[in-house]
Symmetry: none
Subunit: 114 residues, 2 copies
Amino acid sequence: MQRVFEALSSAVRRKILAYLAHSELSAGEIAGRFSMSKPSISQHLSVLEAAGLIVREKRGQFVFYRQVEDSLLNTLNGFVQEACPVGRPLRRESAALAEVRRREAADADGSDRS
Amino acid sequence: MQRVFEALSSAVRRKILAYLAHSELSAGEIAGRFSMSKPSISQHLSVLEAAGLIVREKRGQFVFYRQVEDSLLNTLNGFVQEACPVGRPLRRESAALAEVRRREAADADGSDRS
DNA sequence: ATAACAATTAGGTAATTACCTAAATAAGGT
DNA sequence: ACCTTATTTAGGTAATTACCTAATTGTTAT
């Protein structure tokens, strides 16, 4: 948890995570998206890896990085539940989701709309 | 956003937020929960305030702090949407929420809106 | 074997952060 | 007015962080 939040405290690292949201990328491809030295990016990648947010996989000459599914979400969610005065917003969303599903179920059963 | 994540990168500050989840507290009451000097806690409180996560209100001799509802959640949510590959579960919740609100609005005013 | 490329490690510096104590500001009680 | 309590500001130090360049390691191709 500590490591995750430390990792997220850097704009560069958050941006890296955003890039990795869409597909895995090699260290070089990531570095190419920033105007910063490769060693610096490499260091940011280790921080993200140490936080358990991404994993590395060496394939031949390249090292590919990809996000660890859910690890970010789980941490943030866990934190919100105890730190958000009213985890209510999220709970409200969940309730909203349930509500939509109920209506969809009802719709599927016969009624129509738009 | 930057300030929020920086604020959250400290365990002490996350703990302060957790305390403020339940009720407002004076600076002294907060400091009393930590084995750390009051000035240090005061500084942590400014960081949280600068991030927009809490607000201060002076009443008499005391300064009370309380969380700003939703500001934490909104930031985290916004971030997750672009950084989490599987932000999908959450995105689905948000979409569901938006959908419910659209329907509620429609139900309430009865006007058409294609 | 050598060259070229990919990535990391090593080592150093500047800037930031987290703490502390002491001093200042502000409000209340006597 | 004076003393106490609540909190913040000032100022300083130690530890951490973010960056850089240069050197190293590992892989692929000639």
